[in-house]
Point group: C2
Chain length 197, copies 2
DNA sequence: GTCTATATAGTGATAGAC
DNA sequence: GTCTATCACTATATAGAC
C-alpha cells in the first residue's frame, strides 16, 4: 500500500479540488472577499499545496474561466451540428443555458455574472469569447437568410438573448424562485417574436 | 478674504468631490482595486479629510448608491405622472435609461453593473429597489389592463427590459460603439413585440 | 475641517523541511 | 507533492497636531 504524504483522503487530483473549492467561494463571497487562506481552509489542504498547483490566485480564476469556456464552446458546437435553422439553434442555446443555470449554478454565476476584468485583467472578455461570438454568428445567419429582421447583429443578438441572460441572473441571485426550464417556451416566445421577420 | 485650511481651491463641498472621485475610480478600476489612498490621491486631499466625511470606504459606496437610487426614483415618478399607458411608460423608462447611459455612464455603470452585495452587504439589492419595483408595477398594470399578455410579472418585466439592460451593459463596456438613443425605436420595437398582447 | 503619521490586521506569495 | 512558518507589503482606519 503506497503511502502519500497528503492528510486528505482522495487527493488524486488536488488541482480539481482547489478549482472546485475556489469556484464556490468566488461565487458565494466574491473573488476579492476570498483569500487564498480561505481556499486552503475550506479545501482542508495547505497553502503550499495551492501554490504548488497554481502560481497565483488569479491563475486559479483563469483556470476556472478557461475550463468553462471550453465546455461551453463544445456544447455550442454540438448544437450547430444538430440543428440547421437559426430558430432551432437559438432556442437550443437558450435551453442549454437554462439547464446549466439549474445544474451548474456556480459555474454559470462565475461565467455570466462575475466582473472578470477586475480580477483577471489579462483574460479575454466573455463578450469576445468563442461561445458569445457563435451566438452572434447564429443571429447573423438568421438575418442573412431572412429568419430575422434586418438590423445590427449585436442589437439583434442582444434583443434575442437579453431577456434570457437576465432571467438567468435573476435566477442565480435567488430573485426568481422557480427553475427556469419550464419557462423556456414563454421566454423563447417573447424573444423570438421580438426579432423574427 | 477668509482663510480656510484646505490646500484645494474649491473645497466648499469636499464631500461631493470625494463621492465623484470615488465613483470614477470604483467604476473604472473596481471597488476592490480602489484603495482609500487612491481616492485621496486622485482627489488631491488628505486621508483624514476622507475619513472625516465618511466613516469607511463602504460608506462612500453606500452614499453613491443611495444618491443614485433617489435620482432614479424621482425620474420614474415623473414618468408615471406624465404618461398613462403601460406602453408609453415603459418606453419612456427605456428612453430615460438610454439617455443616462450616455450622459452619466459612470453612475449607470455603478448602478447596473457593479456587484453591490460583494462590497455593500448591508445595502438592499437593486432588484428590490424602488425604481426596479416601479418597473415591475408598470408591467403588472399592463398585464391587468390587457396591454401585455398574461404571464408571470417578473418574467414579463425581464423579457421587456432585458434586452435594454444588456444593451446598456454592452455600451458601458465599450462593446457597442454607438450611442444608444438613436437605437431606441428598434430596441423598443423588439421588446414590445415580445410581450404585447 | 483638514492635515501627517502611525497602528493594526490581513493579504498574496515564498522558503525550506519532510 | 504536501506541509508549516514566515516574509514583505498594502489596506483600512485612527490619533492627534494645527
Amino acid at each position: 500500500m503506497p503511502k502519500t504524504k497528503k492528510k486528505n483522503g482522495n487527493a488524486v487530483d488536488l488541482r480539481q479540488t482547489i478549482l472546485k473549492t475556489a469556484l464556490i467561494l468566488f461565487t458565494s463571497k466574491g473573488y476579492f472577499n476570498t483569500s487564498v487562506h480561505d481556499i486552503k481552509r475550506t479545501a482542508d489542504i495547505s497553502i503550499g499545496a495551492v501554490y504548488h498547483h497554481f502560481k497565483s490566485k488569479e491563475e486559479i480564476a483563469k483556470a476556472i474561466y478557461a475550463e468553462m469556456l471550453e465546455v461551453m464552446t463544445k456544447s455550442m458546437d454540438e448544437i450547430m451540428v444538430q440543428y440547421d435553422s437559426t430558430q432551432e439553434r437559438a432556442k437550443a442555446i437558450m435551453r442549454m443555458l437554462f439547464d446549466w443555470a439549474e445544474t451548474n449554478p456556480a459555474e454559470m454565476e462565475f461565467m455570466l455574472h462575475a466582473k472578470h476584468k477586475e480580477f483577471m485583467p489579462s483574460a479575454i472578455p466573455v463578450c469576445s469569447s468563442r461561445p458569445l461570438a457563435m451566438m452572434r454568428e447564429v443571429v447573423q445567419t438568421g438575418i442573412n437568410n431572412g429568419e430575422i429582421r434586418e438590423m445590427d447583429v449585436t442589437l439583434a443578438a442582444t434583443c434575442l438573448f437579453g431577456g434570457m441572460f437576465r432571467m438567468i441572473n435573476l435566477r442565480l441571485d435567488g430573485i426568481f424562485k422557480e427553475p427556469l426550464p419550464p419557462h423556456l417556451e414563454m421566454v423563447w416566445d417573447c424573444a423570438w417574436k421580438g426579432v423574427a421577420r
